[in-house]
């Protein structure tokens, strides 16, 4: 009969509409809560799918990458970066500039004097972090950073890029643990050799 197909389609949207109430308005369940979010947003979740941004936030993956950052171990004047330039060379849109530091006699030092990233060019590909031989450049996850001044806020220099290693460990715990393990293994191997 003409119209059956239409009604079948409308029944699907109707079911979605009803589900958004059935699964959302349970008075005994906490709303707008981590738990609520996990349930609604999961693959099995039904009904309302919306995140109540900014009160609620989507749980982003620990592997998520956005813009680069530079890691230092103890103090910001001793970054892990050695200014070897692999990141600047592998960067597909060439948005990284590095100047190597020199001592009083003009001999090059293994640390950067200047490090600039133009985030209006950066394509968030993560190659810099992937190919860095010193685990010095990593990807930040801070992504809700709208600005009204492009020149001031979107051209990152060394001061803005540097973050403590604890910050990195918090963002990417499993990557950090794997790197630490690898480093320890290397150190032990070196000890045994010695």
């Amino acid at each position: 009969m003409f119209g059956i197909g239409l009604l079948k389609g409308l029944s699907v949207t109707m079911r979605h509409f009803i589900e958004s109430y059935l699964y959302d308005r349970k008075p005994w369940e906490p709303r707008y809560h981590e738990e609520w979010l996990r349930k609604r947003q999961s693959v099995e979740g039904k009904g309302l799918f919306t995140i109540q941004y900014p009160e609620q936030k989507r749980k982003i993956s620990e592997h998520f990458r956005f813009l680069p950052m530079l890691v230092y171990d103890e103090t910001p004047d001793k970054p892990r970066c050695t200014a070897c330039g692999v990141c600047a060379r592998v960067c597909p849109p060439q948005c990284i500039w590095i100047q190597r530091a020199t001592d009083e006699k003009g001999r090059p030092q293994a640390r950067p004097a200047g490090f600039w990233i133009d985030t209006t060019i950066c394509m968030s590909c993560g190659f810099c972090a992937e190919f860095c031989p010193f685990d010095a450049i990593k990807m930040n996850q801070e992504h809700e950073i709208p600005t009204s001044d492009r020149d001031r806020d979107m051209f990152y220099s060394l001061e803005k890029l540097l973050v403590p290693v604890e910050y990195y460990a918090k963002l990417h715990p499993s990557d950090y643990a794997a790197e630490q393990q690898e480093r320890q293994a290397k150190q032990e191997a070196r000890k045994q050799e010695a």
Binding site: I51, K57, L67, P93, Q94, E144, P146, T147, R150, M154
Partner: protein, 213 residues
Amino acid sequence: MTQEIQVPEELKGQVFITTLSQIYGWGRRYSLWPMFFGVACCAFEFMAASAARFDVGRFGMDLARASPRQADLIVISGTVTKKMVPKIVMLYNQMAEPKYVISMGACATGGGPFKEGYNVVSGVDQFLPVDIYVPGCPPTPEALLAAYIALHEKIQNESIKKVRWYRREPIPEVPVPLLGGPDLIDPRQIPAIRQAALERPVEATAETSETSA
């Protein structure tokens, strides 16, 4: 606000005092009508921000209009090419005032990864007054929502006296860039280009050699 208004003791808790600008801005901030307009990749995250999970309807912006005449917010969601920029400027000129521009993503802000390309404009802000820049390639939908919130703040804090939309003198249109020649021509640069045409070729080669150095 410049001066604090004193509320008499007996009226405290009874009246609510605000400035005209504030209440006007409060009304305006929740009734933005964005333009239904996607440029490139970021348009997909723009749409994702409008879809079920992020739902811009909660910010009073779900009425995306396809006509610039009915819109007061344009989100430049992607790479602005030389071929496209005259049309974008035209669209902006046709929008109803007060109007706002969000530059979404690296490409719209500064050319992004395609900046070096020969057909790419290095930033839509060469032509349009951008209010909010959203970094990222592409920005996540949350980043776009944060930009909407930042824009709401900006609208809220606009003073009706100072903001340019409410001045007596008309706001000049943005001159539409000219296409069809050897390259994109910004009408504001025409006198300088004319000047350059009169110059001796020697100077121009000095310039190019400096460029390649």
